[in-house]
Subunit: 337 residues, 4 copies
């Protein structure tokens, strides 16, 4: 396997497929072969160079949503072996800081993330600390597993919202994160599970993933739990308005630097709302998502609407940029399953 | 006692001390004699006529913060007898709606409140459903007890924030509610208990009630728990900024119709904040405050900076309107203890 | 309808079907016509006279599990009208005690219960305080609804256990309460939902209600959550043994006066277990169960294995006493739906 | 410093002070000089050889409760430097297992503990992974800090009980753990804080540490929260009996292999109790205790009733074995502060 490839953003605006040296795992590390690697809005921002420099290191190999197969395990690694199907946390927590030891690995004091500050999975090989690797059950489709990252984000957010069966739940947004969130919320058997989105073309996809209804505006004050997964000021304002008196709102969508939503103070206080923000994911969320995938309780691949071989990366990025027609996740097929 | 008095707001802008017929308790009711009755910003709004008409009924006897003595108990009332020192919930919950039966009496589907829709305690007598009356321990000073209402509001808000000993806690605001909140937070033995206020003249009062420090601006990102009790957009924005990553914010201050704060979406999400709003109080909060007062664990009377006999009500309202010098609670002394 | 009937236990050991005067609802009351009335182990104890006298009043009309139709509503009753299909909480909370106002209506300081201290629903009419009546959606089958009472018990217990999708959950017991609990737990989409029972003949019923497996012994230390619904010392001991390290156990089964289980102190501490007991039900649980039934999310009638007309009550009690073959709920059909 | 000493239990029953080679920290490690090292009942069991062999490795240097000074830090260690006063978690969590990443470091899948499976602090030097070391504020007395280990156990247990100001709280037991628990509970400002112990001679010590009363039997059914810290079947049974209806019980005391308490099933269910067991401590508890010590919010040294130089270890163990007179913690003074 002489010529390994890696998609490299040399500097903002400049991306190419390059050949890469073979990777060898050091102590406590593994090397995996990505099979499917998703791209998302943040990847567009990484290419454009608009992500806060504190969170990036160029040249940069993108790819933080992926599934693959272990190729090699380094010295001292136990429980991981070549051939195993795996996914891996993108954020690499240090495990020993004040946040990590409390289980808040999403708030780790040291930031390091696949596809941002260390080479990601849009490549034929990816190097990983063994401690962030999760082994999938043998029945799991790698296409389903490629969506584990947004699923982990959604699962952490859902946990903050403490859903209960029989509740009326709304998800604001109609993109990948919103639809993954919807699919996971299904597990709590809500009485209603409404996707409130701006693109009616997404309605069928929403239904297939478990929504009981798609609405553009939503009914104000009607929901026990509302999860905002669109990441715009308007969506945050709508989410707060959808919650019933005594209801709960979870904010998970990122809106971009310095974007503010208008928080109606008295409405929020009079309605006794609980507004939980949820950043990224915890290691616990990854473990849970791995188990849900492995038990066949979630099936995320219906969200994938576009697939391209790695070498067609430009086309993939173009599709992601344009928003016509129903669109779910865009995937780069990096290697054969 | 032929000539009982009641302070009456006949219509917005018109207030006078009038003589009132003697009250007799019906089944399940008691009549109490208010001893001390506080006035607050909302009373100014009731006089000005700017409170949402859905929550008022004129002519209106104000007075929702008070302590007093039971004069008579109606048929079927048990556990309450003339001579007992008491306080009473201002909001009269119906006890049977979907919110009440879950303990969320602050969200009762039927609104009825002393001093808003039913005659309050700025009068020689007040009529009360027995079910909202709380009997004080014999050691409790009625001046301390006169602040039970804001204490119940504060206690509900504090409970939403789940404080723990050793935490760094900030209270945003320097009015009565903020200082009562500070005094109650003391019970959790925080490592720091900072009052962030706009009026340095309140610093001594804050210290006397338990604050470890008074600051005008506060240190951003430093607090485990922040309670906003000022009720302005700037205060809400400051409160959100004061919370550390992974911290909690409680919003309890009301800001007035349609006032919005700028919610910095990405900061809130990246910081994984929990923002809990808290409306009014529950019956449970009143029971707890009654117990804390009765056990001598809280002492709120230092907050009282101005006292007037009932007949000097105009002067009392004037003092409340003007904000020069340190000012805590303004009290009308209605009858002898 | 000149001759209304009521099943009456005149004194322990003596039961007969008697004619009864027509009931008229007073203020705040309704009269309902029971359609289906279940009998349970406690009814056998009421007949035998072995229930603590503090909780009974003879002559006694049994019947605390039932569904029916409103016949008449008394003065001041709103939201309830003749013809509506209803269920009702058996325990009548006073709504104003220290427990009720916190939502803990199951711990109400005043005890009063249909079929124990006030006439129950094994009769052509039953008198009810309006505040405990829950109106069913028009689609709900009254047979399903007849199991609302054990469902409310199960739902309160489940809430104490905080289940999460993907967990391994065990229910210890194979009687009505255990199987209803299993059916409701299904709503949380556990990865495994194992019924650990003593009667393999119940396995099919368990499967129909949602169990993924029936086991006699269960695998020790394997479950995230275990709910004990059998009410024997052995079952409690088994439940504690089934929980994994860091797991949760809920005890809901009653075992009879003075029965003790052997609590293995060091195992419980080393395993960091959380053991929650759950007594009866709250009003909130009834509201939730009503909503789940009305939304068609639960279907309990498969649990009903035996039905008798009211006049065949002796046969019904006999069937309940004997335990051969699969047996779920025994129902008296009191009137036509 | 040619001749470093270590107390060594060569094999069960055989203990001596031996000379030891100087320790050098490897990567990620530090060497500390213990100043004060406490001994406890478990140390007696380690000497007797009655601790489960899965948790011990002989020859064994005891000492898991201690405070000291860093002497040297190995390569790659940051934030730790010679001269700093420190304490350290005894249980060394692996930080990467399924329990650790959720913050449940007390349930780490890999067991390794200072003074059990690796050399403890009854020695002139102790080798530590840097990740378990907590730096004390410069004001903290090392004698107070020597009790950090039982304080961490108590703090984890207290957190499970969710105390609130104004509650009636009982601690069952009168040994070190019970009294440390009492001292920490003080921070929540309970209305009553009763120590229920068997040795009235401990009453003064209990009062000094914050108890409002010492009782031998306690009043049944009167407490909102009861923490069992004695570790006997009778104490567990008493603890369950002391809780009020709807109350909470925390079990933290270990009773010895196979000891069972009689769990009164119906009482527990009727009383809707929440029984939480708490094993050892989490890293979070250590961080909290370090902060409480550093802020001067807790002062544990009054618990120390006996001190001996290291070489008088036999006398120290003898005192610990005999229980006449008030007795708190027995300390070995290993080196000068």
């Amino acid at each position: 396997m002489a010529d390994r490839r890696a998609l490299v953003i040399t500097a903002p605006g400049i991306m190419s497929l390059q050949s890469a040296a073979e990777l060898t795992p050091g102590p406590g590390e593994v090397v995996a072969r990505p099979v499917h690697t998703g791209i998302c809005g943040t990847d567009l921002e990484l290419l454009a160079g608009v992500v806060d420099p504190a969170y990036t290191r160029y040249p940069l190999v993108p790819g933080h949503e992926w599934s693959g197969i272990i190729e090699a395990a380094g010295p001292g690694v136990t429980g991981l072996a070549p051939g195993q199907p795996v996914i891996a946390e993108g954020i690499i927590p240090d495990r020993v800081c004040a946040q990590c030891v409390r289980g808040h690995t999403n708030l780790c004091l040291v930031y390091d993330e696949l596809g941002f500050t260390r080479p990601g999975a849009a490549a034929d090989q990816v190097l990983l600390p063994a401690q962030v690797v999760h082994v999938l059950g043998s029945q799991v489709g790698l296409l389903d597993a490629a969506l584990a990252e947004p699923a982990a984000v959604a699962w952490r957010a859902i946990g903050r919202g403490r859903p209960r069966p029989g509740e009326r739940i709304a998800v604001v947004g109609d993109g990948t994160l919103a639809l993954v969130t919807t699919h996971l919320l299904r597990l709590y058997t809500p009485a209603e599970l409404v996707v409130c989105g701006q693109r009616p073309a997404q309605a069928d996809l929403a239904a297939e993933l478990g929504a009981t209804r798609f609405e553009v505006s939503g009914r104000a004050g009607m929901f026990d739990l509302v999860i905002e997964a669109a990441g715009t000021a308007a969506a945050v304002e709508r989410a707060i308005g959808l919650a019933r008196r005594g209801g709960r709102v979870v904010l998970v969508g990122l809106a971009g630097n310095d974007v503010t939503a208008a928080l109606p103070i008295d409405d929020v206080v009079n309605n006794d709302l609980l507004i939980s923000a949820s950043f990224a994911y915890t290691s616990a969320a990854w473990a849970d998502v791995t188990a849900l995938l492995s038990a066949g309780q979630i099936r995320l691949s219906p969200l994938i609407t576009h697939r391209f071989p790695l070498e067609a990366y430009e086309e993939a990025y173009d599709v992601l940029r344009s928003a016509s027609g129903p669109r779910g996740k865009v995937i780069l097929d990096v290697s054969a399953p």
